[in-house]
């Protein structure tokens, strides 16, 4: 029973961090129709920035967390302005450019911090919550709470602010958004910054739990794409629902069997959903 409760809580934490990553990916696909392959590396940059500012400079975890968000947001905006803006009518070119960014960030991290880094980030709330024999490190609960807070704030921004309406308008109909005087360039830049910051926040939250390495973004982006397809491409609600379903499924299979089987089973889950519902759980049939 305790084991079951712990696994449920671990699933919740995996869901929370995955949801942060995939919502950013879905957001940028919605606004710019680009699959950002460098999204996992923004997660990695978030973890490194947390270590650099929080641990190395000794400013503490939350300063590192803020720095991670800031650094990744600036990086995202720069990627849009310097690269993707020029390729707005060339989706294949944009996709290849994001792979280039992935390689640059990975190599850059390996260059600055080494390939086999043993960097450790201390959790902001240390210790373990023990309740009647069930044990849960406090930081896992922090991750869940932070993700819920961030996703709630994002929803409020998208639903109630002028910026949020403009962002959704651009995602739904670019020409019509242009006719309202919305600057597509400015919204694309902001969306890219927001999306990158979500990945950076996830990387920062996971930094005390996972091993920090230049390649830590790889499994994350693969999971993210499986989840995006599962949820329905372009649907942010679908992305969150699928993140919870997939991460829970994955956690349970890896706990009761092992992670290799969990990877295979996860892909089978995605295929099964696609057979029953080819557009994903909450996706719409795509207009061509």
């Amino acid at each position: 029973m305790q084991f079951l409760v712990e696994t449920v809580l671990n699933s919740a934490m995996a869901s929370a961090s995955t949801a942060l990553v995939v919502v950013g990916l879905a957001l940028i696909f919605g606004v710019m129709r680009i699959e950002n392959f460098a999204h996992g590396e923004l997660y990695m940059v978030g973890a490194y920035a947390t270590w650099l500012f929080g641990t190395s400079f000794g400013a503490g975890y939350w300063v590192g967390f803020a720095a991670a968000i800031l650094v990744t947001a600036v990086l995202g905006a720069a990627i849009e302005i310097l690269l993707l803006r020029r390729l707005r009518n060339n989706p294949m070119g944009a996709l290849i450019v994001t792979i280039g960014v992935l390689l640059i960030l990975q190599t850059g991290a390996a260059w600055f911090f080494g390939i086999n880094s043993n960097l450790l980030v201390d959790a902001p709330v240390s210790g373990v919550l023990s309740l009647g024999g069930f044990n849960m490190p406090w930081h896992r609960i922090v991750v869940i709470a932070a993700a819920v807070l961030i996703l709630t704030a994002l929803t409020v921004i998208l639903r109630t602010t002028k910026f949020g309406w403009a962002l959704r308008a651009v995602a739904q109909d670019k020409d019509a958004a242009n006719l309202q005087g919305i600057s597509i360039g400015r919204i694309s830049m902001s969306a890219m910054a927001l999306s990158a910051a979500l990945a950076g926040a996830a990387g920062s939250l996971m930094a005390p739990i996972v091993r920090i390495s230049p390649f830590m973004g790889q499994p994350v982006i693969i999971t993210a794409f499986i989840v995006i397809i599962l949820g329905g491409i372009g649907s942010m609600e679908g992305a969150i629902v699928a993140a919870v379903i997939y991460s829970t499924f994955f956690t349970f299979v890896s706990v009761y069997f092992d992670t290799t089987i969990a990877n295979v089973a996860g892909l089978c889950l995605m295929l099964a959903v696609l057979i029953v519902k080819p557009s994903g759980l909450m996706g719409k049939a795509q207009k061509v």
Binding site: W165, A166, R168, A169, Q172, D175, A177, L179, Q180, I182
Partner: protein, 234 residues
């Protein structure tokens, strides 16, 4: 006053608008009629800045605007109701209207215009919390027009507002266009439905394969033999 001077527009190597010169006065409803593919929508899209002309000028209130961005053109006071409505499907009716005022900073005036539009279109007011994709075609057309009015334009471009609507709704649309004009806004209408467009308009032009074949008073054009045979069908 909106004036097109020797305007040409190309899509790749294909010419869509060929050396068009036209001028419409302020404060009236005017129209460009023509069949499908004649280049009417392209003219409106070029005025709005969505498409760049290959040569020629567009002059609005005495100033050339052909090199401005869509945003700057909205700021100059031109709003565009696009063909096929293009309301934002997963924004609510209220959000669709308010985004029409995206560039306006005067919150009090925006609120006033929003209330005025809700008053003029009670069917939109009833559905203000619904997504736009749940509306009927006529309601979506009203929403697209309301969204354009929210920008407080002096010139409203309308691309085929009668398209796909029932005869009753087409008549309603005519009343709406008259009332927009009565508020002091100029309207430039583009229509295949020549009968409706000519009866609403002061001046009119006929566009055929990207060229102006006829221009003059709408009332006279209704009696023109060629226009009657080609566009009214009687």
């Amino acid at each position: 006053m909106i004036e097109l001077r020797n305007l040409s527009v190309h899509y790749g190597r294909a010419i869509a608008v060929n050396d068009v010169s036209l001028s419409f006065p302020s404060g009236t409803v005017n129209c460009i009629i023509g069949s499908n593919g004649a280049g009417k929508s392209t003219i409106l899209r070029t005025i709005s800045g969505l498409v760049r002309p290959s040569s020629g000028q567009i002059v609005f209130e005495g100033e050339p605007i052909q090199n401005l961005t869509p945003k700057q053109i909205v700021e100059r006071g031109i709003a565009h109701v696009p063909e096929g409505r293009h309301v934002f499907p997963e924004l609510t009716v209220e959000e669709n209207l308010k985004i029409g005022a995206y560039l306006r900073a005067d919150a009090a005036a925006v609120k006033r215009d929003f209330d005025a539009i809700c008053g003029a279109f009670p069917r939109l007011a009833e559905r203000r919390k619904q997504f736009a994709n749940t509306l009927s075609g006529g309601e979506q057309q009203m929403l697209a027009i309301g969204r354009a009015i929210m920008a407080a334009p002096r010139l409203v471009l309308m691309d085929e507002p009668s398209m796909g609507l029932s005869p009753v709704m087409v008549a309603t649309m005519g009343d709406i266009i008259r009332s927009i004009n009565a508020e002091g806004r100029s309207v430039l209408l583009v229509e295949q439905n020549a009968n409706v467009a000519l009866s609403l308009s002061e001046d009119a032009a006929v566009l055929e394969q990207g060229r102006i074949s006829l221009a003059g008073k709408a009332a006279l054009m209704k009696d023109d033999e060629h226009v009657r045979v080609a566009y009214i069908g009687v």
